[in-house]
């Protein structure tokens, strides 16, 4: 096989603040080759691809295509050099036809007519050559997700891409669609295109890629030919660390406080949660791990009382509750830490005390009047007890740093000793000190008998806090495993959706 290098990324580094997102990464791609980029969230994959596509300018290092250096930070130049990007979130217009989506911006803007027939011919030709079947005149919004992805790929090919980058291409696909996609990708490689795809799923990586590159903590930690490695090795490389034993004393879990049996949530015609089961006991932390976009947000919303379920049962303290409302949740002593604290957890323009009492206004009001004094007192108690710095009860919550805002949110939930705490990504985006503080508080609540459901994409966090772990993949929950018994390889496999052979539920 001829090995002609089409893409050369050499010594690329990129720093955001204190975070070294890419640390001296070098990577090359040959003609007709499929490379898989494997790594956890935050490993630096997306940053690397954004540099390749000209969205970011690297601090050091360079990218060259077909031997020619690519000017940094110029997406147009990247397109012209033949790089095509298929994003996880499609850049498409649902109200336009397939052909229109593909042809936008490809002709001289000021010509008096669009050469639609030539465009259609080219599109049909490409779609036949690569087996990407799609009706050029269909309205995009009427297509399935898999077909929409085909349109994204066709868009890149229509712009004469020679190198195709796919970000998590199967995250949104059904199993069948994913299989079709990979056979197409192999076909494309056979015809001389070069592909990079980003993934967490060991199966598809092993089945499709010629070469696998593992990133961890911004560094390229390993490079393997697909034939020379195994899923087990990859899982360990991806997760990397020796699994650190968390610093928490054993606890004896109490009774079951919250139970889900076969809970399904359907929205927009898609099952976002599929027959999910879990049992949460007093005094324990149940960690839900998984790669982002696999249903975590829906699970959190369901348990926070902001959306309803489609099927299945929720049992709270031994009683079926149907759908939870926010008021039920608060009244029943369920503390809630939302995934996105700026969007859901705080009203930026309102005072800290108002944010502290907003979800429990009935407690802080008499005859419809808000007891401002009590609210301010409550907020002061949180500020003192949870070490919130940078604001007084009457200053706007927007002025707090992320960590202090999170401490306040944590405080308003924990100060009344809730029976259950739902924590979605509680330490996301916080600095080390704030992370430690948040973790400490969660463990403290556990000690006090609170049942904690921790939804997190951060493995370290889950390992540090959880007693039991379940993985969420494509809206389905794995059976739970004891955190004590689990190793990096096992977790990697679980997050890749490989749990059928490991079913000893606890």
């Amino acid at each position: 096989m001829m090995t002609e290098t089409v893409l050369d990324i050499s010594n690329v580094s990129k720093r955001f603040g204190d975070n070294l997102a890419n640390d001296d990464i070098s990577l090359s791609l040959a003609k007709g080759e499929i490379v898989a980029l494997l790594g956890e969230n935050g490993a630096g994959k997306t940053t690397l691809m954004s540099i390749l596509f000209g969205h970011y300018v690297p601090d050091t290092g360079s990218v060259s295509v077909m031997g020619e250096a690519l000017p940094p930070g110029k997406p147009r130049a990247a397109i012209r050099a033949g790089i095509g990007m298929v994003h996880q979130h499609f850049s498409l217009a649902p109200n336009l036809t397939v052909l229109e989506n593909v042809m936008t911006g490809t002709e001289n803007l000021w010509s008096l007519g669009s050469n639609v027939s030539a465009g259609r011919k080219k599109l049909v030709e490409i779609s036949q050559r690569f087996g990407l079947k799609v009706d050029p005149d269909a309205r995009l919004g009427d297509l399935s997700v898999g077909e929409q992805q085909r349109v994204e790929i066709l868009k890149a090919l229509y712009n004469d891409a020679r190198i195709l980058v796919l970000d998590e291409p199967t995250a949104v696909l059904t199993k069948l669609e994913a299989e079709t996609l990979f056979s197409t990708l192999k076909d494309m490689a056979a015809q001389g295109l070069s592909l990079i795809f980003i993934s967490h799923k060991l199966d598809e990586v092993m089945a499709t890629a010629d070469r696998i590159v593992v990133l961890r903590g911004g560094k390229l930690v390993a490079e393997r030919r697909a034939g020379d490695t195994s899923k087990a090795e990859l899982a360990e490389l991806m997760v990397g660390r020796k699994v650190t034993r968390p610093l928490r004393e054993a606890s004896t879990p109490g009774e079951i406080v919250l139970e889900a049996a076969g809970v399904t949530v359907r929205s927009g015609g898609v099952d976002r949660l599929k027959a999910v089961d879990f049992r949460l006991r007093a005094g324990e932390v149940l960690g839900i791990i998984g790669v982002s976009g696999n249903g975590q947000a829906v699970l959190a919303q369901l348990l926070s009382g902001t959306i309803g379920r489609t099927a299945g049962d929720l049992v709270l303290f031994g009683k079926g509750v149907g759908d939870l409302t926010v008021a039920d949740a608060v009244a029943n002593g369920i503390g809630r830490i939302p995934e996105d604290r700026n969007r859901d957890g705080a009203i930026g323009e309102m005072a800290i005390w108002e944010n502290a009492v907003l979800e429990r206004l009935p407690e802080f009001s008499k005859a419809g009047l808000v007891d401002r004094k009590a609210g301010i007192g409550f907020a002061q108690k949180i500020i003192d007890g949870f070490d919130v710095r940078g604001g007084t009860p009457t200053s706007r919550i927007r002025l707090l740093s992320g960590g202090n805002m999170q401490k306040l949110i944590l405080g308003r939930n924990l100060i009344e000793h809730p029976k259950i705490l739902l924590a979605a990504q509680p330490a996301r985006g916080l600095d080390e000190g704030a992370v430690a503080a948040v973790h400490e508080r969660i463990l403290e609540a556990r000690r006090a008998g609170t049942a904690v459901l921790l939804i997190s994409e951060d493995l370290d966090e889950v390992m540090a806090l959880a007693d039991r772990i379940q993985a969420i993949v494509g809206g389905r929950l794995s059976p739970s495993v004891n955190a004590e018994d689990v190793d990096a390889q096992r977790l990697g496999l679980m997050m890749a959706g490989e749990w059928e052979d490991t079913t000893h539920a606890v």
């Binding site: 997406p75 147009r76 397109i79 850049s91 498409l92 217009a93 649902p94 109200n95 336009l96 229109e100 989506n101 042809m103 936008t104 911006g105 490809t106 002709e107 001289n108 803007l109 000021w110 010509s111 008096l112 007519g113 669009s114 639609v116 868009k155």
Partner: protein, 314 residues
């Protein structure tokens, strides 16, 4: 009943339909163009008022009627530029900015008009556009007086609506406009500059609105007076929804709307004294609201309508 039929069968009714429809056609396709790129332009009412004033004033000061039309287009474009700067560059609320533009444009029009034309007993007039005599067609029985006895701007409006339908559906720039209104990020990813597209669409659309206003003073009537636009701009905004954002349907919608209007005007004279005239005058506004309620769910709204675009922000 026969009275109703007589109304419908009269050539005068159909001549009036096209006359009433003209400013609506121009205003509607102007608003439509801008909304197709993702910008709601509630400045329309004020822009039409300003167009009516400046077109008239230009002609009143001795210029040719077509120069008046051009002045109205330029005046409209000027306010379009203002609205784009506020909503596209700064990303301010399109609702509030549009209302501000309407208040400013109309009060500015009244101010300039009062300043240039001192108060008089009877409002000063100009010689407006005269009906075109189209050889062969204008002399046809019934059809001649009904459809081929209009002034030039009416034919211009119909021509522009058809042209816009073609541009939007069939040209690269039309596709770029639609993509910008649906998903500006996708447009950007394909090398189209969504900011530039939005500026262009809002400014061009506002120019059309200005010309729509000028039709009132240069063809339908021959003088300018405050409040003469009478909510036609808001009706145009409703017609855009009714037309599902398609220029060819906007043309039909405006004509249909004008038919109701012309019909009720004639019905008024028939039913004079039996039904208060205000009931008839309410009909266009109520009709617009009904059209909105019926079509709002069914219509395919440009997905990025009213969403400011900031590079790199999703």
């Amino acid at each position: 009943m026969s009275a109703l039929f007589d109304i419908l069968a009269s050539a005068g009714l159909w001549a009036a339909v096209l006359r009433i429809a003209t400013p609506l056609i121009l205003g509607t396709i102007g608003a439509l163009l801008s909304e197709r790129a993702g910008v709601l332009n509630l400045g329309i009412e004020g822009i039409m008022t300003f167009g009516a004033m400046v077109g008239w004033l230009t002609v009143y000061n001795g210029a040719d009627l077509w120069v008046g039309v051009l002045a109205a287009a330029l005046g409209g474009a000027m306010f379009g530029l203002l609205h784009s700067a506020l909503t596209v560059t700064l990303g301010l609320s399109q609702h509030v900015s549009g209302l501000g533009v309407t208040l400013f444009a109309s009060s500015f029009a009244y101010y300039v008009f009062r300043l240039m034309v001192p108060v008089a007993g009877t409002p000063p007039t100009i010689t407006p556009f005269q009906p075109l005599d189209i050889p062969g067609l204008s002399s046809l029985p019934f059809f001649g007086p009904a459809f081929f006895n209009q002034t030039a701007p009416t034919y211009l409006a119909i021509g522009l609506a058809i042209a816009l339908a073609y541009v939007i559906a069939r040209t690269p720039v039309g596709l770029a406009i639609r993509m910008t209104g649906e998903n500006p990020h996708a447009a950007e990813a394909q090398g189209v500059n969504p900011m530039a597209v939005r500026y262009g669409a809002v400014i061009a659309g506002s120019a059309l609105m200005g010309v729509g206003g000028a039709f009132l003073t240069l063809s339908a009537f021959n003088s300018f007076f405050p409040t003469m636009v009478q909510g036609r701009g808001w009706i145009c905004i409703a017609l855009v929804v009714f037309a599902s954002w398609r220029p060819e349907r906007a043309l039909l919608g405006a004509i249909l709307f004008a038919l109701f209007d012309a019909f009720q005007l004639r019905l008024q004279t028939v039913l004079n004294g039996v039904v208060p005239y205000q009931i008839f005058l309410m009909i266009p506004y109520l009709l617009s609201i009904v059209a909105l309620a019926v079509m709002a769910r069914r219509a395919r709204v440009p997905q990025a309508l009213m969403q400011p675009y900031r590079r790199g922000e999703r």
